[in-house]
């Protein structure tokens, strides 16, 4: 298992946001987590990555207990992440965005004297080309179109050479056609780079296009899990989420 979560729980006041979530992800999987708004998907990612401390439960990454490990240390271990609300460095150029991530990955951010401009430029350009932003190197990131910002965030996450990539709604805010193109890009890169992915998503067309397995969350619990065909057939899934008839 590359990722193993057991009984993860998190309560906010009167709301049991996570109620004993179990999840096991095999290397090479492209796992979708679906569920209605408020099902606990984002809280799950935040608790999984140590941004929030779980009330109980365990998280193992590549067999190592990483429960409550803060995000920067988890990132160094090989877990990358993107956010539901696109998270980039708005006032830096696209190139600098990726350079900073590469500097962080190389543990060079404490280097006080060399000029950063000259560092990791080639690799940054390579990563930006991979996500289709090779022509926007010097653009200020905040001025890029929404879809391009999402792709830039992907390049930032890939700069950390993660073995597990967590994507929180990677297609949020995109038009239907762009969504499919986007997730296929992520899928292709994940296969080429040999990454395992866990992503949350609302668009079923996107989910069924790429997911190897699907986990359905509802009210902080795992409601069902299986291959896309199995999940599609489950009656309770259809009721809470897919809508009947699916």
């Amino acid at each position: 298992m590359i990722l193993e979560v057991q009984g993860l729980a998190k309560r906010f006041g009167g709301l049991q946001a996570l109620d004993g979530v179990d999840l096991s992800v095999e290397p090479g999987e492209f796992r979708a987590i679906i569920g209605p708004n408020g099902a606990g998907k984002s809280t799950f990612f935040n608790t999984l990555t140590g941004l929030l401390q779980p009330d109980s439960g365990r998280v193992r990454f590549e067999g190592r207990d990483v429960t409550g490990t803060p995000p920067h240390l988890l990132a160094r271990l090989g877990v990358g992440r993107t956010f539901q609300i696109t998270s980039i460095f708005h006032d830096l150029t696209a190139l600098e965005n990726v350079q900073v991530a590469l500097l962080a990955h190389a543990r060079q951010v404490w280097s006080l004297w060399p000029k950063a401009r000259a560092l990791h430029g080639e690799r940054a350009k390579q990563l930006l080309s991979l996500v289709g932003l090779g022509g926007a190197l010097e653009r200020q990131a905040g001025t890029l179109a929404h879809g391009d910002q999402k792709r830039l965030e992907l390049a930032i996450a890939l700069a950390g050479e993660p073995r597990l990539l967590l994507l929180d709604e990677p297609t949020a805010g995109m038009a239907a056609q762009e969504r499919l193109e986007s997730i296929r890009l992520v899928h292709r890169l994940a296969q080429e780079l040999g990454l395992s992915c866990v992503f949350t998503e609302h668009d079923m067309a996107v989910v069924f296009a790429v997911a190897t397995r699907i986990t359905v969350m509802h009210q902080g619990k795992v409601l069902a899990e299986g291959t896309p065909a199995e999940v599609r057939a489950r009656r309770e899934v259809q009721q809470v989420y897919l809508g009947v008839p699916a």
Binding site: T49, L51, P70, P71, H72, L73, A75, R76, G80, R81, F83, S87, I88, F89, H90, D91, L92, E96, N97, Q99, V100, A101, L103, A104, H105, R107, Q108, V109, W110, S111, L112, W113, P114, K115, A116, R117, L119, E153, I156, A157, A159, G160
Partner: protein, 305 residues
């Protein structure tokens, strides 16, 4: 003009300047040098790191007091004490910044500002009450550099020899990988954290480094003005670098230095004419900021663009 050419011209101007002006204005020029370093160090935090500190005067003040105590109370020969001054002022300010920063960077935005503010008031109270060490309300007076360095011209060059390299070090800092990460965390600390950077440690380091340079500025200024007062540590004093930085432009490395020069010279010119100079300064700054939201350097950029 090429950057190297501009740099050479600037250096030549700074070297020639005191030869062309009276002793009174040399003192003002020394003040400008000290406050330029102070304002630039402040702006590395604000303009690059996005951290608005309301307590930066604490480190300027600690540097000033450290210099004064070193010269008056340490019992060292004046030459020795003076030689140690830059390092002692920086070390004292850095030590204070480690403590203040350790607690303050745990919060961001206005809460960070309030914590720095609270610590500064604490240090103000210490300067006021630790009479044996600081002279209390009266401050410490009669400070001067030893021997020939007490000449305004000589002390100007001494100050320049400290301020210019200090500014260069800060410039290299903001252009370094450390500086890139600092700029990145200004806009999005969370993203940086998920790329593997310990954001708090990074902010603390920036806080301590800039605090140390503010301390150096305070030490330099203490020996040119001849005294230090608790007022240096009062909360109103922390407005000075903010105004200088905004006036000069927070998006330019040397903008705050220019802001410091304009501020200091205006203060001298106006306070010589009227006792209501804070009112006049207020009006002038208001007009400048309203007309030039990006500061003086922003105006220059728009002209050349």
């Amino acid at each position: 003009m090429k950057p190297a050419g501009r740099l050479a011209l600037g250096a030549a101007a700074l070297l020639a300047l005191p030869l062309a002006i009276s002793d009174f204005w040399i003192f003002i020029a020394i003040e400008v040098l000290a406050f330029a370093l102070y304002a630039v160090s402040f702006n590395v935090l604000l303009g690059y790191g996005g951290m608005l500190s309301f307590g930066h005067a604490a480190f300027f003040g600690v540097g000033g007091y450290a210099a004064a105590i070193l010269m008056k109370k340490a019992g060292l020969p004046p030459g020795v004490a003076f030689a140690a001054l830059p390092l002692v002022a920086m070390a004292a300010a850095a030590a204070a910044a480690v403590v203040v920063g350790y607690f303050s960077v745990r919060r961001s935005g206005i809460y960070f500002a309030m914590l720095t503010f609270a610590f500064q008031m604490l240090l103000y109270a210490v300067a006021l009450k630790a009479t044996g060490l600081t002279g209390g309300d009266d401050g410490m007076t009669g400070l001067k550099p030893p021997g020939l360095l007490a000449q305004p011209l000589a002390y100007y060059y001494f100050a320049l020899a400290l301020v210019a390299p200090a500014l260069y070090v800060l410039f290299r800092l903001v252009s370094s990988p450390f500086g890139y990460a600092l700029r990145a965390l200004r806009g999005n600390p969370r993203r940086l954290q998920y790329s593997g950077v310990d954001v708090r440690a990074h902010q603390l380091a920036a806080f301590v480094i800039t605090g140390a340079f503010a301390g150096l500025a305070g030490g330099i200024f203490a020996l040119s003005s001849g005294n230090v007062f608790p007022g240096w540590l009062n909360w109103t004093a922390s407005a000075t670098p903010i105004v200088m930085a905004v006036l000069g432009g927070v998006h330019s490395f040397l903008g705050p230095a220019l802001g410091a020069a304009v501020y200091v010279v205006l203060e001298v010119l106006i306070s010589g004419k009227t006792e209501y100079w804070p009112l006049a300064m207020g009006i002038i700054i208001l007009i400048l900021v309203l007309l030039m939201p990006e500061g003086l350097t922003g105006l220059a950029r728009r002209r050349t663009a």
